[in-house]
Symmetry: D3
Subunit: 135 residues, 6 copies
Amino acid sequence: MSIWPILQDDQLSPRAAAVIADIRATRKTDFINNFWRVLANDPALLERTWASLKEVMAPGALDPLVKEMLYVAVSIANGCEYCIRSHTTAARAKGMSEEQLGELLAVVGMASETNRLATGLQVPVDHAFLPGETV
Amino acid sequence: MSIWPILQDDQLSPRAAAVIADIRATRKTDFINNFWRVLANDPALLERTWASLKEVMAPGALDPLVKEMLYVAVSIANGCEYCIRSHTTAARAKGMSEEQLGELLAVVGMASETNRLATGLQVPVDHAFLPGETV
Amino acid sequence: MSIWPILQDDQLSPRAAAVIADIRATRKTDFINNFWRVLANDPALLERTWASLKEVMAPGALDPLVKEMLYVAVSIANGCEYCIRSHTTAARAKGMSEEQLGELLAVVGMASETNRLATGLQVPVDHAFLPGETV
Amino acid sequence: MSIWPILQDDQLSPRAAAVIADIRATRKTDFINNFWRVLANDPALLERTWASLKEVMAPGALDPLVKEMLYVAVSIANGCEYCIRSHTTAARAKGMSEEQLGELLAVVGMASETNRLATGLQVPVDHAFLPGETV
Amino acid sequence: MSIWPILQDDQLSPRAAAVIADIRATRKTDFINNFWRVLANDPALLERTWASLKEVMAPGALDPLVKEMLYVAVSIANGCEYCIRSHTTAARAKGMSEEQLGELLAVVGMASETNRLATGLQVPVDHAFLPGETV
Amino acid sequence: MSIWPILQDDQLSPRAAAVIADIRATRKTDFINNFWRVLANDPALLERTWASLKEVMAPGALDPLVKEMLYVAVSIANGCEYCIRSHTTAARAKGMSEEQLGELLAVVGMASETNRLATGLQVPVDHAFLPGETV
């Protein structure tokens, strides 16, 4: 019961079908999750979102598993169930152990706690943390 | 101009002084940043927060740099300037390159964008992402 | 299974019933959605919330459809499923096309992405954006 | 004192300079605000962010002023000062009156209030608000 | 450098002046803080906001100090510096001790931590926590 | 269908079992809610989280009911359904009346509204609200 229907392959416009085909080719799997099938109702939005995600999540200076874990952490902070579940699945597929997930959760929880303490107390930034300064 | 004063070493209660001493010993530096000096006004809060942070950020299944980067990502999502600046500094000290920071920011931005799209469209979670199910 | 029961018409206090009657008269429909039926358990809260909403959402310098779209955008950013669904329905009833919804979602996603980039990089505000200054 | 330096024109890499040139050409002004000058430290991030923004904010089914107002509303909900100030400036440049800004703020405030009430009371979504159902 | 100017008494419209006079009478002080002086640029928004705040913060089933502390807690979670500082000041004026503030901060931090853990792990709600059920 | 399984008593590691036993002893009830049964998959996380919660929520300068209400308020602002339901149940068990819950919700809603207005208008903090200054 998403806001837009979950499109099946034979319901895709040519522009959306081309994006879906690229997702399959890039990920080397036939499986297309609901996020893309719903976005496919707006081919321009689908195309742009996939192009950005493909570029951002590609291997680079950070390895793909670290990127997936960062994605999970942000999704928790933003409160998005869909993204938590899909990117936790992706992180596990890329090798995240349950022990690593436990530590990820501990950091997310701890950061959220100290974020609120620093904000609640309005702690001023130390000179040592400002660019161009040294301890 | 924090809500509580930034305490100097000679203003610490014995209980707070013991925590500050442990921070110095653990981090092998004399520098104590404002966060701890402000928390020191409530020794119980200081003691518990430091004990938790020390445990959570210690090396484990995730390496300390990954933990710092997760901390930065969550702090951005939660909008805490102090924490963004202090943990970006810490991540750089642990070896984060500017190229890695750029990728971290790209993931945080991308996740925030797709978090809103998935939430805005109320995309239902795929069976494949639920525990106990397989693609 | 809301925190308070969903009150039916014959369960309303006189004060709540008067508000519900005004909602029906203002909206020219008999249908009362769950939000108001749950708020009705606290007649003062119901009365104040409705009075404010009625004033804020009335036609003014912004047309009612733009107001509904702003409501949807904020509800996505705040992560409120109920509000996303109810105000998307309202916006469609006021004429929002699916193409417009797609653009709304694109802006919400894009803003969330750049919000995080600007916050993560702590970009200082340009003088040109401060009141009283000109480019 | 942003996390990355604010690059001047003569400090840009060729790839970043090309993006900056396109921003100037698209906006028909020489002025480049700090957001882009800071992003320019990571040319790939700059290029992708600008390409997306240019596409998303172009005239379409929604007029550019409505898009700017949606941007402001989301930036307020996400708590990003830079984005609030830059997009309020942009909205005014596109014709937003102070009266319209007042109504925008009223809707953002009201939505945030009722978002919390609906979440706090865990109000279930009405059948009438689910796709495929009718009142 | 707020988005709208901080109006002085002699710059108020008659409608805004009446609201400001009521704030002074209700609070039994001549001091009017910037929030109201900025809102005064939109007399309808000022009038409605003050009427609601006056009603919500009045003594009732919760005492005014508890209400101020709830206000501070929410303002921290929402990341609003102005509101954190103004309502912390108000809570102190109503008798909040520094020890109570420390406990308030500890609860806000702890709740934020466990909120993220419960969300990150997608813990299902126990039957015992649903209305109409008993342990 | 949480991310980690809901462990039954006979599935607990010795370290987790000891924590669960302490929860039962502290709360004087056999009932253990899902949050702890899911956290039990990571005994270190369970142990630390419980130790902190036990300390933070103990009677102190604030009475336990006020602490529970602050917990509910923060959980609403952070959008955590599990925490809203569990801590509302706990607050009722400690004596919160429905009238008090209504006022709590009114404050949370009002604070969220004015938080957005103050942020949206970028109202500068009054000198009177800064430490060391007086009205």
